[in-house]
Amino acid sequence: MKHLLGIEGTTREELEGILDDADGFVEVLDRSIPKVPALRGKTVATVFFEPSTRTRLSFERAAKALSADTMSFSPGTSSLSKGESLKDTVLTLEAMGSDLMVIRHKAVGAARRVADWTSVPIVNGGDGAHQHPTQALLDALTIRRHFGKLEGLDIAIVGDIRHSRVARSNVLAFAALGARVTCVAPRTLLPVTMDGWPAVASGSLDEVIGEVDVVYLLRVQRERGGASVFPSLPEYVERYGLTRERFERLRPEAIVMHPGPMNRGVEIGDDVADDPRSQVLDQVRMGVAVRMAVLYRLLGGELDE
């Protein structure tokens, strides 16, 4: 494994290997000194052309827990405003000594293009509506640590499936690890076709709510799509929001997940978000561990190429 560009093209063995390593890093993060020297002397650059707080912070925390140094690039404070291209930006960062780059960009395939230009490992930190592989890995880790496995679980992903890189990555990862996935959304927010999606579609959250082990809520992304595809917010909450009333109809052992940041009162009820069965903060913790596993795997040595 040279890069992590998406869940597609990653084998089940590779996914499970990363999750196994991440289990070890969860233990490292629980220590009184939550830091190991594994990547001393390496430099991880986070190159984010789209706004992000938690993903960037999570990667930086992961790099530092492995004793790597971090560099951070964001367009607001950079030469992008002077017209420097993506290519020149990443080549500059490579020349400065980045050993690995985490790329977030609004264009689909941006991380893959960058991987062609540079010789360092590239991690896709989100490319448009395409992929967000470390989100899928951290969600898989959260579920695996809660239930012990993904094999045979029923998982509903609810919300704007069509425009969500989280949905695309998570469906692929969950299915690869043996779960049955249902995408729940109004027709306008489902993909045009489910071909190539190892999942089934449903238009009704009420029909599936009592049947699942995990209900995974996507953020209502008011910045993508817009009013043309989106019903009014009250209408969305009415049919697809995880209200307290719907929450009560979940199986008693079922859990609630959300990639954050949450719109409380929209896709997730305010008190549901704070319920003990909501895994949101656990997901954040797992995010650091899984990103440590990815950095360690890509920077730790020559693997079976």
Binding site: D20, D23, V36, L299, G301
Partner: protein, 175 residues
Amino acid sequence: MRQVMEAGDVGRAVRRIAHEIVERNRGVGDVVLVGIHTRGVPLAERLAAVLSELEDVEVPVGVLDIALYRDDVGMRPTPVVGETSIPVEIDDRVVVLVDDVLFTGRTVRAALDSLTDLGRPRRVELAVLVDRGHRELPIRADYVGKNLPTSTTERVAVRVVEVDGSDGVSIEEAG
């Protein structure tokens, strides 16, 4: 392949080391055994069993995985991250590190760094089943099952029942 320790030899070496641990520490009240992943772990558990038989005390056994403390990260395939768990605080206790083979000393160096991050033991001792020489760092063992002169091209293979199905030590020519 040359067999240098049979199953009975391994068992006797473990028993002798247990006696030496008791003698040197005047009992085992403060002792924590920490096995280095992989084959140090069953050896540590066996030492604990003999110690509890000798002293009638349960000696805690921990597991240390040193993958993240190696000095050759990036030079070889990344080892899988194993489990590190020590059931008690090691502060002010006597930690006996247990491994199968002492060779260059680099694994022990990594283990010492790892222990430093986990706490501050009063003393750290080292027990190995086989010392094969060729140190690259100033490290020595306190308890040795067998000193085994080898050449650097040879490979020392330790087998333990828990991992390999049988006990024994053999020397193989590197192929």
